[in-house]
Symmetry: D2
Subunit: 341 residues, 4 copies
């Protein structure tokens, strides 16, 4: 193995695991995906065959014990993330972990401690940070193109809700869906969220409410640096995936629109129209997933800071916990109320 | 005087009074502007001369006592609106009154009672309702083009703050500026606002804070019909007047953009760009002001309901009061807390 | 009559005459429309009543002989324009004349000679020059925003063809419709057209072909300064009036889009769409017609050059003649072939 | 070798050869790139190393003689294309060849004859046909979304001219650059071009004129089915690669815009702007190149018609020859004048 490539093991061969497998094997020559684990033997084997991964297992410990593996991707069920992080850190593997790390701050802290003790790199899968549109907003703010940021608006709508079975184990809309937006808010504004207020409800499907969750929410964020933000989430936009951001600053404003499959405009006797935007995250964030993985591989190979740190993985979970409390108690909640850290 | 024209007296010849004078005299042949009053004799005379108004006075009572006058436009200082409404109603004049009617609900109620007793028509100057963009959103919702509304977003930014002297007598950002947006929210959603939550601050000019006001605010609205809304106001957008709305519904979404002085797109070695949007409300709402006045004249002449009722003038004031309390107490406030009616 | 207002007589009270009557009486306080003539007594009377014009006649000579009239608007049938120009010039009236002056260069020359001898002002009704979009393109070129112009593209499509009866007396697509575009080409590029090549046909309605005309044409222009241009005309765009221009220069490019009744974008399960553009020239050029008339009134009152000169009225007719010959002979034709001047 | 993969040899490892090598090795699992030839040994070796191609040669005959190779990609200099096609056909290799096949129709015909005799597949590298925007226009026309096509406009501008040394051997703007647009015109309209008229000149760089070429051209096309088209080419658009198309039909119109690196809109005190479009063909057509290669591999593996036929490769060359003659003789030229076939 040349010293300038990274050998990787994949833990979890579900939808997102396959995305990373494809990117690693096809688009990142510096990475070498050599092992895959999945509790479903079928899933593991199909993935191995499709991406020519030599080692296959149903037990991820085999990957952790494999001295040839330098880094692991944790793409298993959410409730296993923290445990595997701890074990991987103990095995001195660098770690890429899908979001969220866990739904409990104490669990997350234990995992982050293990990472710190082991001195390995940990990067969290907030893929949207690597999208060209969000990157452009980030750059505009960093470079002062809009002056001092004052107000942030995030709109984030899914085309349709996931199955109720998924809703029940998802951790709820704040930890499962809006967590991406909490991360984006921190990423763009570069300041911590101190307080949240939630107005939300069940507008899409009563079964979501019966499962104890909500499907529509508007959140107000107050940042430490004074910026005020809003996030809107809906589990259903019939026209497809809707991911937009807008920032007003003292010197101007920036906003991004969705991505579309083509630029064609058709005018006929009825209206002037275009096709629907890219339908869901697999289409919209194809390039972002590849860039995210490349950034992780690059960080490990060149000993650079993880592109999305453990702290970046923890902070949105705290905000999500505060948001849920705000929804339950119908009042603004300070993040410090749920996070004594 | 032909029975199919309306004779009008103008009370207050300031900026907005002149807008109405111009529309009445140039664009509404069915109206006949025959009198103007202003506490400044100069202002009254200049207006009379410019629009060929035969009767001029510094005392609006002369207009109320003029039997030739069928309707009055109240464009004087806000703190005189309610008093003049009462007197005009007593004089059996139909009334068009600029917003807000007053800053106190009791004062408004007394004025509305007088109007009800007199059986005259009262219409309130929420001009944005007559803008082609907002009208289109209203129509889309009414006609079910986006299904059942679920979420509303309003962005409303001024190019730059008014003088501090104005701020001090304005009634504050909620009653002076956001009141338009509270009205728009009710107009579009067709339901009453039950609760508001405000996050705001002083980001533009510390002097505004010293005057006891804020210059930047984000408000969350809960409507009786379950819709959730946000309104964002900033006293400063360096690129000009920014007035946008977006509504998500069960069957789709609609959003409007600003209006621009032209459609030209210039591409050069730096970027692809267009000119700034229409700078402020006089440019943006030129047509809306004319349509508003035409609707009032038409309602009186044909005995149709006032286009914007007294209740429409009162409700946003109650929301504004609740919003101020929410800001002061940093908690969601039900409108019923400030309005026992 | 105050020396700072212009007394105007209107000759021809058809559609375009009424547009000018409305603008003069409602939007241009410096003008005083005191007389109207139309061969149809009914039309003349209706126009007089609507715009409160005191003098009405079926014989335009009454207007030419009226010493109170300082300027006339010639909005009668095309084949009367030149004759009336000559007579109006002889009567020392300033003249605004609708396009085209005439369909024969000799006839035009005689009219322009009369104007020159009389020393009156003559302005031609190329209203599009006063549209905000085209003005913006003109300004971009003048101010060097796109460097040296190299290529021009004009698209100009009507929503649907006029009646065949009109087609037969219109002078054909080049003199009736594309003449606006020939003028726009000269206005924007600031150079004379030396050669034209036409490819065209009958695609919309065979009856147009039977009337000896075509309904669809693409024209290539070569300007004296080296710029190359194209003009496309179609008598039918089912989505409405389509009026666009694009210029490529050494330092960039500028293009304009159509105007729309509102900015609303609706997204639903089918597509992302907006309403059709403003349907035809009365809606699209409302403001341009007013600005055009204001510019004429202003030029006369302040003795400034006519905004669109007699030469500007003549040149596009020469180009139209060359275009027709190019179509007939299927070859590029130099304008000098049809115009020995 | 599994029967369901295609073994490929690459002839020519320059810029476009490398694009295909990357797509074959990374994005098309059904292809197996096993050999590369380039007259420059360095270039061949670098390419082989980068894409792990086992066989390397400076003599393409080695690839033609390699029985393991099923298909070849001809990406060598234009003047070698036809000769290699003949040899590859004789060796029973399927062929993908970059445009143009040759600059002489007789040479092309000899190559196409060889292909026909050998019964191999030949596909030509008109990559834009596989771009999502152009595909959408094609689909709109095919599915009748705009009715019967009537007028076509193509704008195609390069960011800056190639080196003069390249211009001298390029075959000229029509055969080198506009050939893509001739192909696009045929692809979209689905009819043959019968006549062309060219207006062009040297506006960008006098050295291009001294080399016997032009750098700016507007072409009018007449199609056999009556459609009229224009193509505009400029060797320089300072804002980047500009590739747009518009089609007017009896039932509507469709137009496409450029692709941009992001959707961000920045508003500040100067203007409302976005970043420049994707700069050149490598960025703009990344996906199109991959789709093109996939279509070729798929056609060979499943014995389907070549996606871009030999005839499709020949027809634009004939149009280019007619265009050059039109420019030289300043008259419309029928394609049959240069092509007796």
């Amino acid at each position: 193995m040349a010293p300038d490539t990274l050998t990787v093991g994949l833990i979890g061969a579900g939808r997102i695991g396959q995305v990373h497998a494809e990117n690693l094997s096809r688009r990142i020559p510096l990475a070498n995906l050599i092992a895959v684990a999945d509790v479903s033997e079928d899933a593991a084997k199909r993935c191995a065959q499709q991406y020519r991964i030599p080692k296959v297992t149903i037990d991820y410990h085999a990957i952790l014990e494999d001295s040839e593996v330098q880094a692991v991707l944790i793409c298993s069920a959410t409730n296993t993330h923290a445990q595997i992080i701890e074990e991987a850190a103990a095995a001195s593997k660098h770690i890429f972990c899908e979001k969220p790390i866990a739904l409990s701050l104490a669990t997350i802290d234990r995992a982050l401690d293990a990472v710190a003790r082991a001195g390995v790199k940990l990067s969290i899968g907030f893929n949207r940070r690597f999208d060209a549109n969000f990157q452009r907003v980030h750059r505009a703010i960093e470079q002062g193109e809009i002056g001092q940021p004052e107000i942030l608006h995030i709109i984030s709508r899914d085309p349709s809700p996931p199955p109720i079975a998924y809703i029940k184990v998802s951790g709820g809309i704040f930890a499962d869906m809006m967590i991406h937006d909490f991360d984006m808010a921190r990423f763009l504004i570069g300041s911590e969220v101190e307080e949240v207020y939630v107005a939300g409800g069940v507008m899409v499907d009563p079964a979501i409410g019966e499962a104890g969750d909500l499907d529509t929410a508007v959140v107000v964020l107050r940042f430490a640096n004074g910026v005020i933000g809003t996030i809107e989430n809906s589990r259903r936009a019939v026209y497809g995936y809707d991911q937009r951001v807008e920032v007003l600053g003292s010197g101007g404003a920036i906003r991004i629109d969705n991505n579309y499959p083509n630029t064609a405009i058709i005018s006929d006797a009825q209206n002037v129209r275009r096709d629907l935007p890219l339908h869901f995250f697999m289409e919209r964030y194809t390039e972002a997933f590849a860039a995210e993985m490349l950034a992780f591989v690059d960080a490990v190979l060149h000993d650079r800071p993880a592109p999305v740190t453990g702290h970046d993985g923890r902070a949105p979970v705290a905000i999500a916990l505060a948001a849920r409390r705000s929804f339950d108690e119908r009042r603004p909640v300070r993040v410090s109320e749920v996070d004594s850290a």
